[in-house]
Assembly symmetry: D2
Homo-oligomer: 403 residues x 4
């Protein structure tokens, strides 16, 4: 298919400046009908209110808003959480996990409306273009992909605003925008501005969601969660849906300044970028699940889970969700999560989410075994034989060297 043959495009529309420009630009350059698609992944009312009108005003024929909030937590966040994935040791993958679910829903809309192309508003230096297009390749290889930022000549907000003004398309976007942000139910990311120099500490306005730990309450607060098969099923005694759990924990975490990260990370496209991420509820969830794992996973299972975490962090970050490899890694971690049941108390205090109490019916920990005294299961005399064989190769090697 060629550019000329495109009749209908579904664009992932955010309501922001760039996707507002994309709609008229597509119509002018591809001479096609444009359908706006908005994924509600919990980015909040501020971004969603009136978004359909906005899309239509920009020239879209229709605008589909799809609520993906519960699905995102259940089908994307939990599987990732069970792996323990944390990109480059810090980043809880908030933007990365949202991309495949958005792309998948966008493909579904495209098929429903009979579109022949997909469009996104990601820039040419970022990860998101790879995540969107990687998902498109796996889910809808027959649809063309349009990436305006790699195609057009617009290079500044000013030019974008001019573009809209010339066409009398209303836009409330400001001329200057210090930071580039992405928000969903799981996190807010902030890039740009003062953060571009790694020798600058983040400003207070780099953080949008969480309270500064220094301004957080002086009194600690405690949250209790119940975990089943690696998922939180109850918070503070109340059963909640996955999304509601996240919302509840976000509110608690944000209040106590939990979940701020400032990181320089390797983008998939070969450059590094610096970002501040806020993941208040997610940080609490991560701590809770890891704490139950401490009780139930044996040593080598734990080690494998850690290896899976490294692998999954790259797969998810790199937009490889819809690949056999990712499915294989997730199958492995789902298997390990089967025993991850228990209860955890987390203390929230000035940026900390610290597990203070934990228990599990599947716990391999036993007071009886761990303590000094005699027990049925562990006989200290076993240790001598264990150590001897465990270090036997070392012994033989050392004896060899003495020959």
């Amino acid at each position: 298919m060629t550019k000329q043959q495109i009749n209908k495009v579904v664009v992932a529309y955010s309501g922001g400046l760039d996707t507002s420009v994309i709609i008229p630009w597509l119509k002018e350059n591809y001479h096609c009908e444009v359908i706006a698609f908005v994924a509600d992944v919990g980015q909040g009312a501020e971004e969603l209110n009136g978004i359909e009108e906005k899309a239509i005003a920009s020239g879209a024929t229709e605008c589909y808003v799809v609520d993906l909030k519960e699905q995102m937590v259940e089908e994307y966040i939990y599987p990732t959480l069970k792996t323990g994935a944390c990109y480059e040791g810090k980043y809880l993958l908030g933007t990365s996990m949202a991309r495949p679910i958005i792309a998948k829903a966008q493909v579904e809309v495209a098929r429903n409306v009979g579109a022949d192309a997909l469009c996104h508003g990601c820039t040419g230096k970022g990860n998101d273009q790879v995540r969107f297009e990687g998902a498109f390749a796996a889910l809808a290889p027959e649809l063309m992909v349009i990436a305006p930022w790699r195609e057009w000549d617009l290079v500044s907000r000013e030019e974008c605003l001019d573009y809209l003004a010339e066409r009398n398309i209303p836009c409330t976007a400001s001329l200057t925008k210090i930071y580039s942000r992405d928000a969903n139910a799981w996190h807010i990311s902030t890039e740009g501005g003062v953060l571009e120099d790694t020798w600058n500490a983040p400003n207070e306005d780099c953080w949008e969601w969480t309270v500064d730990p220094e301004q957080a309450p002086n009194e600690a607060e405690f949250v209790t969660v119940k975990v089943q098969q690696g998922e939180i099923v109850e918070v503070d005694g109340e059963a909640m849906t996955p999304y509601n759990t996240l919302v509840y924990l976000n509110e608690k975490g944000a209040k106590h300044g939990v979940g701020r990260i400032d990181i320089v990370e390797n983008r998939l496209v070969g450059i590094k970028s610096r970002g501040c991420y806020e993941t208040p509820g997610g940080t609490i969830m991560m701590e809770a699940l890891r704490a139950v794992e401490q009780l139930v996973l044996d040593k080598s299972s734990f080690e494998f889970r850690e290896e899976l975490a490294v692998k999954a962090s790259h797969l998810v970050y790199d937009g490889r969700w819809f690949t056999p490899l990712c499915k294989s890694v997730l199958a492995a971690s789902e298997e390990l999560a089967k025993d991850v049941n228990g209860e955890v108390v987390i203390k929230l205090y000035k940026g900390h989410a610290t597990v203070t109490q934990k228990r599990s019916d599947n716990s391999l920990y036993s007071e009886e075994f761990a303590t000094f005294g005699e027990d049925e299961v562990y006989d200290q005399s076993h240790a001598g034989g264990f150590i001897r064989l465990y270090s036997l190769a070392s012994r033989i090697r050392a004896l060899n060297e003495k020959k």
Copy 2:
């Protein structure tokens, strides 16, 4: 060699109750001369003062105190730190790293004094017996190993105290000791007591070194470190030896409640135990090195470093320091650390050690590349081809499925 043939034993002596019992017990049961060996790994004056006299009073012929502090940081801690090792995601391996260096120095003393056996005071349910005996097997397979705790019938502090009293050996140890502790320049660990039930939060007396974050200063403090090849060479503008760096950072960290960990971990011997660890300076060092890595390691190098971290954490924890495998893993991480040069500012505040500023001459981060605008090195048009090939297998698979 048989038990009967042992003439001289070198015992790793701590001055505590159990090693004080071990000395007379060895003499009575092995009819041999006992040499006490004390490793100074920074456990502090309280434990070391008068220790030689104590050893002699307990029946040792001689007592060797060897200062291993600088060597421990330089040859054991830094190599481990460069791997990023953190056992089961939390524990900075304070006891684990100290064991091989102690065992090695003990072997050297044994050879110098012509001993034919080595003895340690580790219990039969712990990791340390494996670490000591693993090192002994690798370094001195010709020497017999005696592990009294797996051999004798004493099962309580009371019995140990009685044992000494019966022999008129002076001992200031108290009848009850709530916690089992291990201290060195890197950390203090605390086990037992209230911690034995994982549903108990740690008491304040579970922490011995660091200030409670809630009691820590309300004012943040900043520390600046300079890193060369993965090691800190300057702190707050002053060049320091590795050990002095650690001491300096310990003081800062402890004051701000940095480095408290409460973990249930898998012991090598197949059971789980729960411990509270305090690693104030080490936590700061870890954060600092990881931050420089964010600047200098490319994506796949970073991923490998994370894999090495998992491997090294188990190797060090499991007492496999003197093995070809450990040497191989350390060789890999040393290679990666060659570029880990830079400067880092760390903010200390109520338990947090947060890197706020970082820079490096080896940084792969560049403001120019990461930002929106044009540059020489990154051409946005490259991304299209990259993505296409990067997701090509997904595309082909999806096309296949449509056939």
Copy 3:
């Protein structure tokens, strides 16, 4: 439970000399009833004929022979094969895979007959004791385990024969037995004798099953197999059960000298041993599955499958079948095997099993893409962008170094 309380033991009985001794020895030393359990894992009629009578003659109250042949191939061999596991690069795990299934069936018999202990005839230096007892621990921790070879004083065949003779228990075992062997439908292993010196080449009598490649037919023979989800479902055009497939391929492979391996391997207990293994059909199956994978697995999936192979080889070898870790690894490889469908022609010739033809509906290979000319899917111009970003970190690093 103590030794004295044991009433009934189920022993894994092979009909060989040592398990024949074990029956009376158990009765004399444990004063208990002994039930013989024989697993038919395809070791052949020679070993199984009259085995029940033999067991009774040795003093067993009952003898249960359980046919595990199909189950072994379906539930143990295929899952392992899908991982690609090959221990230390050579050994196809024939003995290792048989142990968990035998142990599991033995536990079931024990529960059915109300036994309170399990007994095996493995020696104290081998892997099999760990595999049996590892399975017992996971499946029946309440049952006592008796390992006579680690307990009694018999140290030679002669003593074993004397033991039986003294008790008038008939035995046809010969005084000398050069090799120690283990046989099942998958393989025959041979240890001992001339093999004990690694500088000796194997004798012709080290091989029991397969024709010497030098004596194999001068004419090659071809076998065609059809693979579905990583399992062979048809051979030479005929649908066959898993076990019958193996039998068929064994016959073909053995005739052509396929599947001989001579290896020094690391036992789990810390020593090395040398063995000759014959796995004629298994070698063909391995080649066939790997060939289909070449067609259907993408690059990073293939790499993960190789990593899983290494992991699984150790897990299976080490007798860790019934662990969460093993289940997790197998879940990952099952997921990857879902696309492993296709057809393969294998050429058998003087020890070689060489795949000469392969095809798959899931193949990611396409003549069109791979060849020189233009195509829709791969545009050569994409490569420039791909390479640029793929090597961007190298470029930036090199530019840095020039500064």
Copy 4:
């Protein structure tokens, strides 16, 4: 730098049709001086004879032929061999290992002659373009790279021949060339023709170097090699340089049909290709080194070496030789190779290279330990304790489940 500014290009010249076209094409399209660079990596006299005259005749100003044969074996092949790398389980990386050394020497020539650009003749669908340009990016980011096959319109041999004919440049290349080949001292690869359909078996003319196993001598032949630190230092009693070792073993292997591989592999650029590879001497070297490893590496070192093999196979295949990650992986394997000393006898017979005898002063194998009887080092009673602790987590888990 722009296209227009290029004054002097160094082209990796092979003497074949495409690089013969590249010389005049560069002059016409870049208006620059062209320097031919020929790497002698053992591709043989046929390709090298008269190559300088040919290059000059095609329009090159100068032609540099650089002998890289010893360096290739010593600095590229041995480090790779020590890792055990074998791409996707089969391919011994013959082309992959040659690319970085060629690229590096080409860069050196470019710097010596003051060139401002580098050019290679790799196609836009292959791996070699990535390998060359990956090396260029790491070694000479300041030099421009020209990849004519991604730039020009020529798409067939006929067009290339016409191009030369129009310019009266002599060329002996034939119009049709069935296979695409790459040769060096380590291997010959063959792609194209009948191989493009994976359901075709290779023709006999797919193999160029090795004798068909069916035509190989009916008498086996034996080769003895001595290995030091993972490198062969003596063959059949004679000390030889690395390259001469390879030549000697190539001759032996080729005669006996050793080292033929037929594989469908994943290219780095996202497509699969099918190739036949002949690596006669290399296959023997691989077998020899792996056999010594069987004697000297302990279990977990062996497992890590296998993991390194997987990693290294991808790194080398993907052209990432000059990266910190590759250096790190090689540092790890060099460390493990320190003990890889020994002697090995390899039997060559109709395509097989089978190690029949092996020994090593560093061997951890000991007849005494492995056999049935008593010994000093291994006490069978140790096994009971070992097994108990080794399977303790399984036991505890199982006991839990019974509660």
